[in-house]
């Protein structure tokens, strides 16, 4: 077969092969050696590079901006194409693999402290990354579901990996039960869509997209179809932790080992938003009038619930979990504008996950990669102890808060501009008020780090020394902080690149 047929799934192949390699080498080399960890990190970089290669390949194809592949490499079969390779899937792939890489490198100490089980952890990270990307390259709803499950099962295990920690089991079980429930809802939605359209494929001549643009949908089918779309949205809303499907996020973020939350929070967010874009704007794009109000409702609930929830938190990870609910809401506001909003959503998504990975890496450094808790007390006077870490965390907080000259401002501006031009002014006003209220808890972190004195020595369990940092964590933190500022001052290069996705 030609080389091209493998390219669309090359990053997944690399990641899966890497996972096997890591497990095998851990057996072969023994637990004292750490080469498998390096191999895992390199594999993620290889996958990211393959995604870049996909992008370049698509550029060289010129006008044909999107390629579809079935399992057999033939585009026209009864079922339609299985996998799609377009700029969108390529750029999401780059983001997912890089985020997984940064999450792994930034929390290298977790891999070290897990000892022999480190190899399993690295393999699970690779599997999760492959599954997440599969959600976005799938042009078939069942394949999308398989990607979702591959990633989810790997992440359920990762959530429970720090078994000695008290909350880790709870986090894992909660994540698993609620996640399975969401998966079931999602697959039921897929079944209803199949019942309504007679197709599982998104693209192709018999695909869902084609069905909506040609078939006058019979009255009896509309209810089934809309119910299917709604259930699919609910299933994915769970993954992006949009309210009211967000309850798992705070407990899981807090319970899981701090070093593993980066991937769980950032990677899943990228993939789930990507899948939502693929389904809503790709498959159901012509039914936008039906799903847009639902998305607006989810967006409003998310920004309000996330913001109010975050205000009272005493734990940085819980606060970040609730704020991630609000951020999901901010991104969902732009969905109402349709496909034109994709670059804005992606910009918001990427800048947010950069800040999020940076923030969780700081949590890993300050509160320890294996522990679950990250009480605000531990951050008292952090600025005195280690000004660079405190400064970086402040940058992430200001970035997420949407202060001008930080990346979050450009992202917020872009998604809100889309929502306003789609006529959802009320939505933007609610979101903006929530984003200002959000400043309260972002600034609180800054206050704690900069304004309060160092933690009192008599308080038990509080660190007064400068936190120890590995080279990897330092690299990730400074890179993320640098990007958060750089993309706030000169966002245009990334925005221009993202416009190719359209």
């Amino acid at each position: 077969m030609e080389n091209i047929a493998f390219l669309p799934i090359a990053p997944e192949i690399a990641a899966l092969a890497g996972a096997i390699l890591v497990l095998m080498s851990a057996v072969a080399l023994g637990q004292e050696r750490k080469e498998w960890g390096v191999a895992g990190a390199i594999t993620l970089l290889v996958s990211a590079s393959l995604s870049v290669l996909q992008w370049l390949r698509l550029d060289s194809l010129g006008s044909a901006r999107e390629l579809a592949y079935s399992a057999r490499g033939v585009t026209e079969t009864v079922l339609g194409p299985m996998v799609v390779m377009d700029h969108f899937s390529a750029v999401i792939g780059i983001a997912i693999y890089l985020v997984a890489f940064l999450a792994l490198v930034g929390n290298w100490r977790l891999v070290e402290t897990l000892r022999s089980r480190g190899a399993e952890y690295v393999a699970l990270v690779l599997l999760a990354a492959a599954g997440l990307h599969m959600m976005v390259i799938s042009s078939n709803l069942v394949l999308l579901f398989m990607g979702l499950e591959t990633a989810s099962i790997a992440l359920y295990v990762i959530a429970g990996f720090a078994r000695v920690e008290r909350n880790s089991d709870e986090a894992s079980l909660k994540y698993f039960l609620l996640g399975s429930f969401a998966s079931a809802i999602f697959i039921y939605g897929v079944a209803l869509v199949y019942a309504g359209t007679g197709s599982l494929s998104i693209y192709g001549s018999a695909g869902i997209r084609q069905f909506f643009s040609t078939e006058p949908v019979a009255v009896i089918n509309v209810g089934v179809l809309l119910a299917g779309i709604a259930l699919i949205i609910v299933g994915l809303a769970f993954k992006v932790s949009a309210a009211p499907f967000h309850q798992w996020a705070p407990d899981v973020y807090q319970g899981a080992a701090s070093g593993s939350v980066s991937l769980m929070a950032a990677g899943v967010k990228i993939a789930a938003i990507g899948a939502l874009i693929r389904l809503l704007m790709g498959a159901f794009g012509s039914r936008a009038d039906d799903w847009a109000p639902l998305l607006a409702l989810l967006a409003v609930l998310s920004v309000v619930v996330g913001t109010i929830g975050a205000i009272g938190q005493q734990d940085l990870k819980r606060m970040l979990a609730y704020s991630s609910v609000a951020h999901a809401g901010f991104m969902l506001t732009a969905f109402v504008a349709g496909a034109i909003a994709i670059p804005s959503i992606l910009f918001y998504l990427f800048t947010y996950v950069i800040a999020l990975v940076g923030a969780f890496t700081v949590v890993g450094v300050v509160s320890g990669v294996r522990s679950g808790a990250s009480a605000f007390d531990e951050y008292n006077g952090l600025f005195e102890r280690s000004p660079w870490i405190a400064g970086s965390l402040a940058v992430f907080m200001l970035g997420m808060g949407g202060i001008p000259f930080f990346s979050g401002f450009v992202g917020k501006f872009a998604v809100f501009a889309n929502a306003i031009s789609a006529g959802y002014l009320w939505l933007v006003i609610v979101a903006l008020v929530a984003s200002i209220a959000g400043l309260f808890f972002y600034l609180r972190v800054v206050v704690i780090m900069f304004f309060e004195g160092p933690a009192k020595a008599e308080a038990p369990g509080t660190a007064t020394a400068a936190p120890r940092m590995t080279g990897g964590s330092g690299f990730v933190i400074l890179l993320a902080a640098g990007l958060t500022i750089l993309l706030g001052v000169v966002p245009w290069p990334l925005l221009n690149v993202l416009h190719y996705v359209l």
Binding site: F416, A417, I420, L425, V433, S435, I436, L439, F451, P491
Partner: protein, 507 residues
């Protein structure tokens, strides 16, 4: 053409970088270097002042670079007569504030970095001609100021800092909504292009409110003023000077630049309401200032009262009122800046701001007493000093449109004299009751040098305001012309002989 304004805005940021890179073991360099570098933007601003062509309408030194086409954002800057003097005020107040911060011990390097970044933001606000650029600068000034209050403030500083930040940020959120909406209506964020688009009356009303609340919080107009006394009181001396001197002016400037110019129809309709709130602010601020036991809080409340005058002048929408409003922005920056500076100096010596802890200290600190009295007179609007000309023009201008408001506001002048002179009397005159005050040292040469530039400018603008007025009036008349062209409003003029009016305005 040389991008004068861009360099002017970026110089303080570069200075901040230089200061940030000073290694810890050479920390004694921080203060002198920051002070020296703060004179570079001042030199740039003075060059702009010198090269600015008087009497030419429109913006000068304009520079426009398309920044991002799909969203219609450009780097567009320019100076006109309204922003020119505010730029000069900003650039003068920064070296003074930095010089007044020599005794800051806690992390002095970061303090200076925050100050210099603040200068970039403040200079940027006054020259930005792209709405998003304006918003970005407007919002970014919050962060260094928040840190200045929160880290280096006194007493209840964290509460004051958070309150300050959230109040102003909430206002800005509404403005950002307004900006995005305006952008989606007009298809551009460029100020000069938006001028050509005619907005409907309803659109103007909503946009006026969106922008107006942001500026009203910043000014602050009663009832949005409650953040101000806390922030002013808890901020370090330099923070108070810059808050009163520049930050409050961002709001008043925004009212003129955006609310009057872009939404003239709504401005005409809302003007009586704003004038009413301004008068309430004038009298309320003065009344609360009278009973303040805390000297710094007293000056803070006097700002509420003085800013009421400025808003009254702006929304009188007459040539005299608007000119008076602009010149009074500068005056208030100078005289209140001087008062905060002096209060800071006495606080450094005695570590108390309570008026009752002082008394009779003019005997031990004659120079300090003299300078304080001078600033008090300037703030109270004594003829011959700068405050008089501004307040007089404002009262004259507002009398044309809102006679009752002008009469009520005039009582504010009397109240100002009461609270300022009474405070002076309690602090400086009479016998020394507290024995700690007996050995207070008078101002040294360095401190006198810091206050001197302000005193000289106060005197200069009081005696010879013509250079300033010549630059403000064409810009102000342009704003009023636009209002007359786009609405049915006619700017009232005096019916009395011209020479009488001119005699009054002191030219």
């Amino acid at each position: 053409m040389f991008p004068t304004l861009a360099v002017m805005i970026l110089l303080p940021t570069l200075a901040a970088l230089v200061v940030a890179l000073i290694p810890k073991r050479r920390s004694e360099l921080v203060y002198p270097l920051a002070l020296a570098l703060s004179f570079v933007p001042l030199a740039m601003v003075l060059y702009v002042l010198w090269a600015f062509e008087v009497g030419v309408p429109g913006f000068q030194f304009t520079q426009q670079v398309l920044w991002y086409e799909p969203l219609g954002i450009s780097w567009h800057v320019g100076v006109d007569g309204i922003s020119l003097l505010l730029l000069v005020l900003t650039a003068i107040l920064f070296p003074i504030s930095i010089a007044a911060s020599k005794s800051v011990e806690k992390n002095q390097k970061m303090y200076m970095v925050a100050m210099l970044l603040l200068e970039t933001g403040m200079l940027g606000v006054f020259v930005a001609l792209d709405l998003l650029l304006f918003f970005a600068f407007f919002e970014i000034t919050l962060v260094p100021m928040y840190l200045l209050i929160g880290i280096w403030g006194s007493g209840n500083r964290v509460y004051a800092a958070v309150k300050f930040f959230l109040y102003t940020a909430l206002g800005s959120a509404l403005m950002l909504t307004g900006i995005i909406w305006l952008g989606s209506i007009t298809g551009t964020f460029n100020f000069t292009q938006i001028l050509d688009v005619s907005l409907t009356s309803t659109q103007q009303s909503w946009l006026f409110l969106g922008f107006g609340i942001a500026f009203a919080v910043k000014v602050p107009i009663f009832p949005f003023h409650t953040w101000l006394p806390d922030a002013h009181t808890e901020a370090p001396t330099a923070g108070s000077i810059l808050l009163a001197g520049v930050l409050l002016k961002l709001g008043a400037y925004g009212f003129i630049r955006f609310n009057l110019t872009l939404f003239p129809d709504a401005a005409v309709r809302f003007a009586p309401w704003l004038a009413a709130l301004a008068v309430i602010g004038i009298i309320y601020g003065a009344a609360v200032a009278i009973v303040q036991p805390d000297l710094k809080r007293l000056v803070a409340y006097s700002s509420v009262s003085h800013l009421g005058f400025i808003i009254l002048g702006i929304f009188a929408m007459t040539s005299q009122g608007l000119t008076g409003g602009v010149i009074q922005m500068v005056n208030h920056g100078l005289s209140t800046g001087a008062l905060f500076l002096l209060v800071g100096m006495i606080y450094e010596r005695r570590h108390t701001r309570q008026i009752s802890d002082y008394g009779g200290i003019a005997k031990v600190m004659p120079i300090f007493g003299g300078l304080f009295l001078f600033s008090v007179f300037a703030s109270a609007g004594l003829p011959g000093l700068n405050g008089f000309i501004g307040e007089f023009k404002i009262l004259l201008g507002s009398y044309l449109r809102f006679p009752v408001a002008a009469v009520l506001a005039a009582t504010g002048v009397i109240l100002a004299a009461i609270y300022l002179l009474w405070a002076y009397e309690r602090v400086f005159t009479g016998p020394i009751v507290h024995k700690e005050n007996k050995k207070l040292l008078d101002l040294d040469k360095r401190e006198i040098m810091i206050v001197a530039p302000l005193a000289i400018l106060i005197l200069f603008l009081g005696i010879y305001p013509k250079p300033a007025l010549d630059r403000i009036e064409p810009a102000v008349d342009e704003v009023l012309q636009r209002i007359e062209q786009t609405t049915s409003y006619t700017v009232p003029h005096f019916g009395m002989p011209d020479d009488l009016v001119n005699m009054g305005v002191g030219e």
